[in-house]
């Protein structure tokens, strides 16, 4: 049966690719503004769907004024720069970024553990079952335990991310290590390499680009656990602000904040992709 046009064999032109790929964005934005205008005509005090100018106002306030619960006092004649570094947006972003960087740094030991589990049978025997079990625990269900055990400060939030994401990274690295052809390992030994040369100079280097890609995929999970922690128990951070503003129905700041988080995450992912390509020019993305 033929539809008169090709499906699998279709070749969209450059122009139609460009047009069609932005279609849903423009549709979404258009619909939002239409609905927002309509609501504001009926009720000028509407807080659910703020207009562009309201969101712009909200954000420009957020990026030059300290938060209401922040008692930082700025001199009368403070420069724009000083104002920005004391602002709500900057301080929230900083707090969240700090936790995010800590959490991602803690994934490095996870990668090393996965590598050793895959390569050294005894390490694998000791850890594999345990990690598989740990992987099945729903990390968020541990949140109360963590708050009780580690208090409600930074440690418990970072532990949440570690518990939530590291098993995935460990198991992924383990599988990638197992996937390295045995010829490569044997070859390295015949060339005089010792066990650690094989681990770090042959296997690690080969799986590095795939491990980085796996971390990129898991950034979303890192952010998810980070936001859960911040929303429930925190006094700063982007998710804390979003949760706080919900009480005032502060949609004019919440929506830009959500987009800001998405933009930041996109930039981190993009930077990691560039770094990956720069570091591993030999890697052929499958």
């Amino acid at each position: 049966m033929s539809f008169g046009f090709q499906l699998v064999h279709a070749r969209p032109s450059r122009a139609s690719t460009l047009l069609l790929s932005w279609l849903l964005f423009s549709l979404g934005i258009g619909l939002y503004f239409y609905a927002s205008q309509k609501r504001h005509r009926e009720n000028p005090e509407d807080r659910v769907m703020p207009t562009v100018s309201q969101m712009f106002h909200g954000m420009s306030d957020a990026s030059v004024k300290p938060a209401e619960d922040d008692d930082a006092v700025l001199p009368e004649n403070a420069s724009l720069r000083q104002k920005f570094f004391a602002s709500m947006l900057w301080k929230d972003t900083l707090a969240t970024s700090r936790r995010f960087i800590f959490s991602v740094a803690l994934l490095i030991p996870a990668v090393l553990l996965g590598l050793h589990m895959g390569l050294f049978p005894y390490v694998g025997v000791v850890f594999l079952r345990f990690v598989l079990f740990f992987d099945k625990i729903v990390a968020l269900s541990l949140l109360p335990i963590l708050f009780i055990a580690f208090g409600i400060d930074e440690l418990s939030k970072i532990m949440l991310i570690v518990i939530g994401v590291t098993p995935t990274i460990i198991l992924d690295t383990f599988n990638l290590t197992k996937g390295v052809p045995s010829e490569q390992v044997v070859k390295a030994f015949t060339l005089g390499a010792n066990d650690f040369d094989v681990a770090y100079r042959v296997v690690m280097r080969q799986i590095a680009p795939r491990v980085l890609n796996s971390i990129r995929l898991n950034l979303k999970a890192v952010m998810l656990f980070l936001f859960a922690g911040e929303m429930i128990a925190s006094t700063d951070g982007l998710a804390y602000r979003i949760a706080l503003l919900r009480r005032h129905m502060g949609m004019d700041v919440i929506i830009p904040y959500v987009l800001w988080v998405a933009l930041l995450l996109f930039l981190v992912d993009f930077a990691m992709r560039l770094v990956n390509r720069k570091l591993h020019p030999w890697f052929q993305e499958a």
């Binding site: 015949t190 060339l191 020019p281 890697f283």
Partner: protein
């Protein structure tokens, strides 16, 4: 004393045990070019992996220069059919890898002596690159940028760079097109003559075995359920004339296809 000596070597896989090799007694002297011939699944690659130390026998022993060795090491070089090069290293990096890890570990690599030695390693590697018929401008290419034949050339250079006494090649040319294959056979023959290295070459191609080796060993199974044994072990007359090959091929294929070979004596005088 033979350089490679296997006594009463048997291997079986799985439960219930399915024999792959039974009672292999094999002595290989220094400087021989042994071709291991047999049909697919007859265990010739397994025998090579046992000598390599990558697999362990169920019973029997293997001595390399009189010593039992439990894992692959510098004494035996290895060129497999696939995945023979490190994809993350350039041609130069692949060839210098052996000498580097043989002399330096992860910590001594940080010393200034390492950087001085590395220059020497690179020069040696360029020598090998020329010897195997590659251009110096290929030195900084990655394996995926090379053709299959070129990759195997580099793999041979990489194995030779640590100067092993034994080189084990597992169907190393089987994935190459006939023309490239001929070139590679010429190259490996030349390298064998020049270096006096002991070669063990696994192949399923009778013609290749005869045109390469100084000795051909045929592995065969008596029944489908029994393990393979050495069905034939013949020295190849040197030089092996092209016109003799068809008859030899016929005899050998007969041997590897069916049971024992009573015509060993006939062939030896052929």
């Amino acid at each position: 004393m033979p350089l490679i000596e296997t006594s009463n070597l048997s291997v079986a896989y799985g439960t219930p045990a399915r024999p792959v090799l039974t009672n292999i007694d094999l002595n290989i002297e220094e400087g021989e070019f042994v071709c291991l011939l047999g049909q697919t699944g007859c265990g010739k690659s397994t025998l090579l992996k046992l000598i390599l130390g990558a697999e362990m026998p169920s019973s029997g022993r293997i001595r390399i220069d009189g010593v039992e060795r439990k894992q692959p090491d510098r004494t035996r070089g290895y060129v497999p059919q696939k995945y023979s090069l490190f994809p993350d290293k350039t041609v130069l990096g692949n060839i210098t890898f052996g000498p580097e890890v043989s002399e330096f570990n992860l910590f001594t690599r940080l010393t200034p002596r390492y950087f001085r030695r590395r220059r020497q390693f690179r020069e040696d590697a360029l020598g090998y690159i020329r010897r195997i018929g590659l251009h110096e401008r290929d030195a900084h290419k990655y394996p995926h940028q090379l053709s299959g034949g070129m990759q195997q050339r580099v793999a041979i250079a990489q194995a030779l760079a640590t100067k092993p006494r034994i080189l084990l090649m597992d169907e190393a040319f089987s994935a190459l097109d006939p023309g490239t294959r001929k070139d590679m056979q010429r190259l490996i023959r030349q390298l064998w003559r020049d270096t006096g290295i002991t070669l063990l070459f696994v192949t399923h191609n009778t013609q290749e075995a005869l045109s390469l080796g100084s000795r051909v060993i045929v592995l065969a199974k008596e029944t489908p359920d029994s393990g393979a044994h050495i069905a034939m072990d013949i020295p190849v007359p040197e030089p092996c004339h092209e016109h003799q090959i068809p008859t030899l091929v016929h005899h050998l294929e007969h041997a590897s296809g069916s049971a024992r070979a009573p015509e060993v004596a006939v062939l030896a005088t052929a």
